[in-house]
Symmetry: C2
Subunit: 218 residues, 2 copies
DNA sequence: GCTTCAATGGACTATTTGGTCCGATGCAAG
DNA sequence: CTTGCATCGGACCAAATAGTCCATTGAAGC
């Protein structure tokens, strides 16, 4: 998945720049609306209006609503991975993990925990009703976890983490804490539970550091 | 919130047993259907059919769909708390926590991680669109966490946990791990991530035990 | 037994919403 | 310029769905 053209269509003959731009507008509008209202509660007319397009355009670029949703899953997944790659690809120390944590917490605190994680909310809403969407979301989570575990591997290889640390399990645990934190923060409309959850996961990772430092997670 | 009559209506004059039974059937059907399809994707006709009732009964017992959903939030919350109370009110040891973990994992593995937690999925779907539902769900999560933290308090008072252990934070972290685990397991259609997440949280709690034992979490 | 009202069956309505269609327009190639 | 096709506007359609209404039934109190 490349960093550019995250909205590029799969295959069709002769696609103009104007068409690509429209498709991008539609996906962007769907992305914003479905983040706050949820997938099923967002109508095509909502998207049409927000994207300044027409019904025929929606159906020119997407076969039906389900296909639009599936495209959105990939679109949002690419955006998240792009953002996360920027914050994780150079991860080499525990303090880097803390900075990553702080960025997520700060972003979520801006809206008092509302909306949660765009991927997590879609996962719960779609996993039981669209196998393709579920599969795609699952792959995105795996890729996201891999960004973390790669960093942990680097930390282990450089001697920061003990050899018995399991980067894969640690990253899965951290991702679960993040997603659960998003969920509880969303329900409470307060970012606090997310902080507690992430700090727990970070403390756990910290316990695998070779030289436990007094470094705070705050 | 009492253990019995979880479906009892709020207030109305002269309510017959038959009426209560019908209300219960409706809520039970809504509970089952909305767990697998989600709230917004479940129609009143679905519920009417599954509950063997009629349109007039739905609107006799509930003002509209939103009220039915709000009643379901309380209904499901009461059911979960009832179940969790049974498993947590006698919690006094780390092995009790492990048994609790195993019960949740086993239940979720029966359907390969599908559906997730009934409260968590509702939380993400409703928190941004129904303030009353969100508030109710938030209270339920708090009550659930309190069942855990009460147990941790007992463990701390009895000298099992160190004095610097914070039962409230630990229970919030554990709940986040549980909810995140449910979410990832649902996306992966595999209970494994939920196990990893819960084990991480339990390891973290274990690190606060006064006498670290070799007790396995598996 | 009579009265009263909760409870019920189910047809019916209004609105929302996903989806279709066709003529118009813009753009690029020959 | 002309032709072909992607793109577009928006009216229109059909199905789904929330919600209404009224006649009927059943049960509890007098």
């Amino acid at each position: 998945m490349s960093d550019e053209q995250v909205a590029a269509p799969t295959n069709r003959r002769r696609i103009s720049q104007r068409g690509i731009a429209t498709r991008e507008r539609i996906l962007d509008a769907a992305n914003r609306l479905m983040l706050v209202r949820g997938v099923n509660a967002t109508t095509l007319d909502d998207i049409r209006e927000a994207s300044q397009t027409s019904k025929s355009q929606l159906y020119h670029h997407f076969a039906d609503k389900q296909e639009l949703v599936r495209a959105l899953v990939k679109y949002r997944g690419a955006l998240v991975l792009q953002r996360e790659r920027a914050g994780l690809e150079r991860l080499r120390s525990f303090s880097g993990l803390v900075r990553w944590r702080n960025a997520l917490v700060q972003a979520n605190s801006l809206n008092n925990g509302k909306h949660g994680c765009g991927l997590g909310s879609m996962a719960l809403e779609l996993s039981d009703q669209d196998e393709q969407a579920r599969s795609s979301l699952s792959e995105t989570f795996e890729a996201w976890e891999k960004l973390i575990s790669d960093g942990l591997h680097r930390m282990r290889d450089s001697g920061l983490l003990r050899q018995d640390a399991d980067p894969e399990k640690l990253s899965t645990g951290l991702m679960a804490a993040l997603q659960g934190g998003y969920l509880l923060a969303n329900a409470a409309h307060d970012v606090a539970p997310m902080e507690v959850a992430l700090d727990m996961a970070l403390e756990h990772i910290k316990s695998f550091l070779v030289q436990p430092s007094g470094e705070s997670t705050h």
